[in-house]
């Protein structure tokens, strides 16, 4: 069931009004990470709620309590829950987005006022939140407006969960989602979830994302003398913590990215039959990787190997050392206590719980081999699960069909190298298929200066999300 032509035409005809509404949204400085802007984020909660009500959606401002930020006790901006439709013959789709944004100052290097949406001649809509994630949230509003104004029923029952703390750890969201997923909650009866909050792999090809890597972040501390020592007085006299730590850090990963902690790479199954073809098909080249990194430093000339390295292999990065000399110049210190920081991006079936004992055992065994008199401490600072879902589920079929209809292209089916924690929140609380259906392009600069959303991505993206709902509706009829 493709979306009605009338809907697609409506979107084209109302493009300027949609952009004006995006401009209104961008002008509210809903920076969640800065206490000074907290009132603006709360204002944004209300604005979204009112916009939803205006297009016939029942809403609730869900109180998330209070928290402490930069030493200040603050009210959390309420999440906005929305509900429209209750037809038992239809699928119930939960859509997620966030209306808070990253900080932005002209002095960071913006060419225009970040909180005034600027339409460039090339069609770029420049402003903080244009792509991350006000554009996608407003995409849903555009669709609802068409149905409300034209008194058309939606092809699905729709539930909304729009939050205002995503850029600050989604504080309070986990508990809310768990609570509302229970019988009688706002998310009771949800059949699938659609999250529009990531990006195409490139600037050309629409993308559907079905996996995310998890994370395990570790800190290896080596402690020796009671205070920093002078290398003239103590050099070649005592065991130096930096010498030990560098040896340990050197045993974690090789230059080609292979993880040297026994059992970590081995935990991941080899590609299933034809899996490599999925990567071969992706519209992304070694040149794209290197352009994006700004240097010819890809680990391989084989595109499949490089893309699998990012999407379906774990990776280990050494981030730095706390406690050592880090300034410019030449300080002759022997640091007393140094902590190496490294993290492993995880893929199924890896979990922080399964990897921690392997990492700990490896570090302790390498430390024991050194024969140093310094002391070792190993800890996990942070952990998050990886996620991969079934791309043959009707939820994904609907998104693929919608993409072909709007873009006349096969979507890139991707797994992201990073994490989007709310994905796991919904997958775990609801136990249904979760789909990541991005609106913006890979070069939107979500957390950078001069963030933009291309006009065509906003307009075609609105059509895509709407068509997706019709395709889900069609799946219900099967």
């Amino acid at each position: 069931m493709p979306a009605p032509k009338e809907f697609l035409d409506y979107v084209d005809h109302n493009a300027d009004a949609f952009i004006q509404r995006l401009s209104d949204a961008v002008s509210i400085k809903s920076v969640s990470g800065d206490p000074a802007y907290r009132e603006e984020v709360i204002k944004m909660s209300n604005w979204i709620s009112q916009q939803l009500q205006a297009v016939g959606v029942e809403t609730q401002l869900a109180d998330l309590g209070r928290h402490t930020m930069d030493g200040q006790d603050l009210a959390l901006p309420p999440a906005v829950l929305g509900r429209i439709g209750n037809d038992p013959k239809k699928k119930t789709v939960l859509v997620y987005g966030h209306f808070d944004v990253q900080p932005a100052l002209v002095s960071d290097g913006w060419n225009t006022d970040p909180f005034k949406l600027t339409v460039l001649p090339n069609g770029q809509l420049v402003g903080r939140g244009s792509s991350d994630d006000k554009g996608p949230v407003l995409g849903w509003l555009n669709i609802l407006q068409y149905h409300h104004q034209n008194q058309k029923d939606l092809p699905v029952n729709l539930r909304c969960c729009f939050e205002g703390m995503e850029e600050s750890g989604s504080e309070g969201l986990d508990d809310l989602v768990k609570k509302e997923s229970q019988s009688g909650g706002w998310f009771d009866g949800v059949d699938c979830v659609c999250i529009s909050d990531n990006y195409w792999l490139n600037t050309r090809t629409p993308t559907i994302t079905y996996g995310l890597r998890g994370l395990a972040y570790y800190k290896v501390t080596i402690e020796g003398p009671a205070k920093d020592l002078h290398s003239g007085v103590f050099g070649r006299t005592v065991h130096e913590p930096m010498t030990d730590l560098i040896k340990i850090m050197g045993t974690l990963v090789d230059v080609k990215g292979h993880i040297l902690i026994p059992g970590v790479d081995e935990m991941v199954p080899p590609p299933f039959a034809d899996e490599k073809e999925l990567y071969e098909k992706l519209d992304y080249s070694i040149k794209d990787v290197e352009d994006s990194a700004g240097a010819s430093i890809a680990l391989s000339d084989d595109k499949v190997e490089v893309l699998m390295g990012r999407m379906r292999q774990p990776s280990l990065s050494l981030h730095g050392i706390e406690g050592a000399f880090y300034g410019s110049g030449a300080k002759t210190v022997i640091p007393a206590k140094v902590s190496g920081k490294f993290s492993i991006r995880l893929v199924p079936p890896q979990t922080p719980e399964k990897v921690f004992p392997l990492a700990k055992a490896h570090v302790e065994s390498e430390f024991a081999k050194l024969g140093t008199k310094n002391k070792l401490h190993f800890e996990e600072l942070h952990g998050g699960l990886p996620w991969v879902t079934d791309i043959n589920h009707w939820n994904y079929e609907a998104a693929r069909t919608a993409t072909r209809a709007i873009y006349n292209q096969e979507p890139d089916m991707t797994r992201e190298g990073g994490s989007i924690p709310v994905t796991l929140t919904f997958a775990e609380a609801l136990g249904v298929s979760v789909l990541l259906l991005p609106m913006g392009r890979g070069d939107d600069g979500a957390h950078s200066t001069n963030e933009k959303l291309d006009r065509s991505n906003f307009i075609q993206g609105t059509k895509l999300l709407g068509t997706y709902l019709y395709e889900v509706g069609a799946a219900a009829a099967k």
Copy 2:
């Protein structure tokens, strides 16, 4: 020729007056490293010059020009040159000291006002510069006062070089010493040099120092992407500079302190016959090393090995990394450009010039082995020569005899692990024996809070320096 008993008695009888003069000196806040105190350092130049004139010494305030510090154009505090005696039958001794001090604030953790000399019941004279290096400079003044007041000829011709920029790199001193060492200069005809600006090895045993380690400070830079990357997006996709750098840094030194750069350790000759006995004799134990480091982390249980590691072996310390994550917490960055800092303490016949090509070749060869696409840059940030001199020279015999006379002890004959750059300045400019004859103890805390000089070290140290001059005088008669 021991010093006359009358001199020794005079020092004892005038101890309180000497301490009062030290108190006057400490009250002048001659911090050379802070532009705000520059006038105080210049005041100190004048004070020293006047004190010398008052005891019959001809002086000159040697203009060292101007320099820039913290963006300010400042006059350098003049060095104070002094001259007394011109008897061709006598040896001419040049004594060096400095009257500038390290910064000190009560808020750093001082128990008393650092610029008010506090005499503790245990005999400690607490105040900034008490030990480093106003105490020793005033030791020479005390000796001169005895001879001037009692109309006694000095046993030697004396030359003084007291500077006010030692704690800030002795700016201008090299050129001055070179100039004054020429025919007709203030240091023309000098037979030996005595520098009193270091410390006993412990708190019990007078020390004579005959060697210093040099330094070569290196920076290894690995550069990859054009900007810092997100480890989710780029982990296992590109060559990471930190991975490469940690591998390189791991090839420089082993956990036991052996330098792994081929040719560096090998450049140092094995101990000469009986040399180990010199270290065996030193009044210093493994426990002293570990007490001083605050942990049981000595590289060996063999005292000779540990002390030779500090004094007559090169050492390599890894100081830190510039450009990597260094804060607390868990930042998932792939740093774009990282620079490892390490230094090698050098001993003869090593020089920065001889070691640089070895270090560079090693780092480049290890880098080539990695097979990374990142880029390497290797540079020396700083270099200084090591120094060792003949302990059988009459200058050293004089110091040993004087030590036995005053302390009734054999001195510890030490080589320092660090550097005292003026030593090389004098050795090179004059080509005569340079002696390091410390006044203070190993726990004086020269650059720390609560710096002190023990009253007995000030008073007996004055006698030691005076007696040393008499023993040099005796050497002339031989």
